[in-house]
């Protein structure tokens, strides 16, 4: 564990001991720990997702153990880093399942790694909760892999719902060749249903250092709103640089404080359909947000909440099915609906997530600060 990680770990510990003291009457868990494996992209391109997820997992582990663990037995989170690489994710999964003999596997952070790891967990019937939305068709056959983030179809729907709410019928899209491609594939068929005309769709390669020309092509089509679907801050800056004044709507993948810093002055007048706005959380999210702020003195967002939910879902399934239940029984126990911090899930749904469109909240970046707009999609 490098210096910076140890430092962060120490502050988290200090915060939590204070919390533990104030906990209710339950005695802290004791006895032989139950091993839960987790894979996140703590380094490489996906680190923007992996590091918040890891913080969420550690926080959840402390919270579950403080409240008595699983019928008295504490859980032990074993977190591995796949460096945003599917090959590494696969060998880490093998190590966790066959080496550490974990009862369940949480993560990984990126879709590619999830599909790779899903092959192993599905073959060995190990319950898995992925921090990604369901992706390619092959994942639909994996009955024991749940997803705590919405499928890209739902993200695309949320973008269109917001565009409809501001009466934007002509929309331009600027997206990257990775995450952008995936959301775009769902957005195209849905756009007609919402009466939205995609007047310009421009793509740029991952790691692009300049997308001004693509942004200019979008501007030339005079759209009423611009969707930006990317995992980098460059397109947001270029859109502002060439003075596109229409409202910009970003996909959930770009919603993190890291992007806001990298956008600089461009982080303004950008609407984002997401789930957690730390500055102004929904009532049922308040407890989690305060706990997180106390532990890490920074504001949590979607990925911290998703990891927190995943840990609690596995804990509740273990409570129901028993700590040493067989994989199949644990998988069944996991299938039940669960109202989490991020959203209300129903893992028996065919997209293994069951998040309703109504769970989305719509934040707006104003001068680099997240604010929660009152707009919600009525079911």
């Amino acid at each position: 564990m490098s210096l910076s990680k140890i430092a962060r770990f120490a502050t988290a510990l200090a915060g939590l001991t204070a919390l533990a003291v104030g906990a209710q009457a339950q005695t802290p868990a004791a006895g032989e720990p139950i091993k839960i494996g987790a894979i996140v992209s703590a380094t490489g391109a996906g680190a923007g997702l992996g590091i918040p997820e890891r913080n969420g997992l550690l926080l959840a582990e402390k919270d579950i153990n403080a409240k008595g663990g699983i019928k008295g037995r504490p859980i032990k989170m074993i977190i591995e880093d796949d460096a945003s690489n599917p090959d590494t994710a696969l060998s880490k999964a093998n190590e966790l399942i066959f080496g550490q003999k974990v009862v369940a596997l949480l993560g990984p952070s990126l879709t590619a790694s999830t599909v790779a790891v899903g092959g192993v967990t599905h073959a060995n019937k190990v319950p898995q909760i992925a921090f990604t939305g369901i992706g390619p068709a092959v994942e639909r056959e994996r009955k024991c892999v749940a997803h705590v983030l919405p499928p890209q179809r739902l993200n695309a729907q949320a973008l269109l719902e917001y565009a409809k709410s501001i009466r934007a019928t002509k929309v331009g899209v600027l997206h990257d060749a990775g995450y952008g491609n995936v959301v775009m594939a769902e957005l195209r068929p849905l756009a007609d249903k919402y009466g939205v005309k995609l007047v310009a769709v421009e793509k740029f390669e991952i790691g692009a250092t300049d997308t001004t020309t693509q942004a200019a092509k979008v501007k030339a089509a005079q759209p009423e709103a611009v969707f930006v679907i990317a995992t980098s801050a460059t397109p947001f800056r270029n859109v502002k640089q060439i003075q596109i004044t229409q409202p910009v709507i970003a996909a959930i993948g770009s919603s993190s404080y890291e992007y806001v810093n990298a956008m600089g002055t461009a982080a303004d007048n950008i609407a984002i359909p997401e789930f957690v706005v730390g500055e102004d959380p929904l009532p049922h999210q308040k407890a989690f947000v305060d706990l997180y702020k106390q532990a890490y003195n920074s504001t949590p967002k979607n990925y911290e909440a998703a990891a927190w939910d995943a840990a609690h879902i596995i804990a509740s399934a273990l409570n129901k099915a028993g700590a040493d239940a067989t994989n199949e029984k644990l998988c069944e126990a996991m299938k039940a609906p669960y109202s989490g911090v991020l959203a209300n899930y129903d893992f028996s749904a065919d997209d293994m997530t069951g998040i309703p469109i109504g769970s989305f909240v719509f934040s707006k970046l104003v001068g680099g600060k997240y604010t929660r707009t009152p707009f919600r999609v009525s079911q």
Binding site: L90, E95, T111, A112, V138, A177
Partner: protein, 321 residues
Amino acid sequence: MASLNLQRNLLWIAVALAVWAALPFLVPRNIADLLVFTGIYTIAGLGIGLLLGHCGIVNLAQATFYGLGAYASAYCTVMMGWPSITGFLVGAVISMALAYVIGRPILRLTGYFLALGTLALSAIASALFFEWDWLTGGTLGIGGIPKLDLLGFVLDRPSRYYFFVWIVAFACMWAAHNLVDSRSGLMLRAMRDSSTAAAALSVDLQSLRTRVFVVCALFGSLAGSLFAHHVSFVSTQSFTVDRSITFLLIPVIGGATSIPGIVVGALFITFLPELLSKLGDVHQILFGLALVAVVVLMPDGLMGAWDRFRARLVARGGSDA
């Protein structure tokens, strides 16, 4: 005297084979997993070793053929439902054809221009792998590639796949060894020492280089198909320009002109990051420094340094060698 040497060599080989055969059952599963990757990287590295060691060509496009092999296996088995062997064949044919068509013009370049030409080829292929997501699945990639089954014997556990991959690797090493000792190998070494003199003796430099480039692509595609069936998933992240750079390091670190050196290079590439990753984020720095150390201190790779070390040993040891 000679027979004693021969016996000692046979003994060495027997010991090595015994260790090789027992290894997958002794080590934990993830080490066996890495040993399979070492086999796959050996095959890919052999092709580059031939080009670098024998033609002096820096080939930075191996990830492209590795990707073609992997995508062919994925597409044939998952999308078309054909038996796995078709993936290997389709991948090999496409890679060799592309290597021939692209190789002929690019191989007219020399030195740095050629290195950059292969780098550009790798960048183009990487962009196209992203772009043609109807074929490659783009960022999501193609999942659910079935485990390889040889006439009904399914190779699902790493220990089983380990034997298959390494047998293929040994076969490729045997083929590469044959090539080096054959008439083509003779002409290759001549070309390496003096291309003007080789030309004067009617050695067709251009077609020789192209044919070795095609063989390199074949090895890359084979390794790609084996990778696809091992990971049962392929996505663009595995076939980028930095993967080509990693492949180039295999013969560089191992020793470009020695075939066992390629295995040493592959072991270095697979296990060093694993060993160093225990030290946290600093491991990437150490990997870079290890590479610099090898390039500066051992110009002819680890194998070269080992041979020189043994030679010094023998020299000092006098007649008992």
